[in-house]
Amino acid sequence: MLIMWRRCGQSFIVGEGVQIEVLESRANRVKLGIVAPDNVPIVRTEARLTREENLAAALSAGHDMIQTLLRSLPAGAPRA
């Protein structure tokens, strides 16, 4: 992993045409400004991971998995 220090107002460039600037820095969060071509998708990491996990969940949901889960999980668990 490449690590670098940046101050507010400083920026860096990724590949061709992607520029990321530190706009504001607080105790435990930073505000970033991103300039990128329209064809470069920008998505929060956790949103991408959730999308991938949802696709995997939809694909893997089957009768086998239901049976596996029911064999292994205690019934009468807390309410949702």
Binding site: R44, T45, E46, A47, L49, T50, R51, E52, E53, N54, L55, A56, A57, A58, L59, S60, A61, H63, D64, M65, I66, T68, L69, L70, S72, L73, P74, A75, G76, A77, P78, R79, A80
Partner: protein, 153 residues
Amino acid sequence: MSRIPTKFFGECDCEAGSLFSFPSGLPGFEDQSSFFFLKIPGAEPLLFLQSVSTRNLCFILLPILVVDPNYVLELAPDELADLQLPLDRTPTIGQDILCAATISCGDGEAPRANLMAPIVVNLQAKIGMQVIKGESGYSHRHPLRSEGALLPC
């Protein structure tokens, strides 16, 4: 009472009360805005989130407190507003809201739960969303364990 086709249970009698609107869909399924929550006798504690428009789309869920009895859900003001929940108090799981995790499984892997992004629905307003809590510290691939042993899949 209407009958809808489901992925796992043939045609189900679904009460209007179990129909939930997901205005933004789910990540990866943004065009799916209506789901039925199915509770199947004998399949507790599993829940099933069945798409109304796509028969072959049904998520298997577990109530979040089944996966982690100590789970803490913190909803931001904009998430409370999206769910049409009061902003001045914390909603109670099982009373105001239903909170459940999607379950998935890779080939030969143990089933896992997405605790980072639970499905949350307002039981009164019948509106739901997947809240993505990237800063919560919970894993999007939390392994399900049974009496200490990993479940085979």
